[in-house]
Amino acid sequence: MSIPYSGTIRRSGGVVSAIAKQLRAVNLKAAKRITVKFDPFGDNVTHTRNFLHYMSSRKISLTNPNCVLKTEVVCDRSEPTVDITIVPSIAETASLKKVTFKSGNLTCLELLQLLNKHITPLAPAEQITTTISTKLEKKGKRK
């Protein structure tokens, strides 16, 4: 007796591929300022520091060159947080001024997923720029 096939056809690539997938989707156009605050001697700062390392990469900073990434090191045993200030023009439409992630108990993947859930959709849609038309095309248009 044969059992019908069940299960996945493709295997998951693991946490690393999931993180890479989230990073490819990140768009910081809606963020004006990102402040990552952590206490280096805390127990639960590994994922925050990894998140910070990924956020500081060149590719992600190129999505919005005006967005400032600030790292704050504190020594008062406070929980690590990620504060994101939204660009004022988008904040009016979205009625959302600031997003705070309390990342003490969040993994790096979860932080990225939350970022993609809340910040990335706020990014304004890309407008198609006018293409350069050749002389021949212009002549054709006139006719």
């Binding site: 280096p40 001697f41 700062v45 590994t46 520091r49 990894n50 910070l52 390392h53 990924y54 500081s56 990469s57 060149r58 990434l69 790292t71 090191v73 504190v74 020594c75």
Partner: protein, 258 residues
Amino acid sequence: MALINRGLLKTAAPLLCTRRFRGKINIQKPRKPHFGRQILIDISKPHFGPPKHLLPEIMKCEKIKDTIAKMEIDNPFERILANECLNWFNTSKMVVFLHVNSINMEDKTPVYASLKKNDMHLRTYGKKIVSMATTGTRYEAVNQLFTSHQNIIFGQPENAAKMFKILKKAPQLVVMAGIIEDKLLSKNELVEFSKLPNLDVARSQLCSVLQSAGSCLVGQLNQSQQILVSHLEKHISIQNSPTTEDNQTESIDTKEES
């Protein structure tokens, strides 16, 4: 023909070695292989263990694979690096731990160079090496910091202010904590330390503070006498000035008389 051949690229003629010519292939009575060939055959023979159905259950357990894979292999190079790391810790009076964000070597090299010019060394050691170097020594608390990407600066405490100035140019390198003169300091304390003046200046400030207590007491003791003296002097000066006025009025009268 020979001339044409000379112009073309000469290929080496293949080395031909005859194995057999027409005769039957020998299978029934193979000759004994050469000693070297026999060794290779013996080495490359596959070894099969007992079949699974004959093995006892305990040998079939799959959890052992994970434990065996994590068995630590002693790597002498790692030991050498750990020794080097510990050496750096012991010889430098200032050790600063940095969190490293994504940075190009293009941006990092000028920082490295300017630190080197100021007699400071920016080095990278991995978590395992640092844990090997510091467990059991007095630097054990440092392992807590080594969870993500980090660099270490080894130097002398005099250059702390310069170090902060150089690191301002590389915002991707974030100071987390530091060890100065065998004391672990947080980032804020490090910043305060860098703002302190030179040791000689600090000593002179201390001397002046110590002296100020004594001089203050002396001043207070002498205060009443000094006030009295100043009052008396003023009194004298006031007394002298009306005599000069009297002299002036006398001279006018004499003039008028004359």
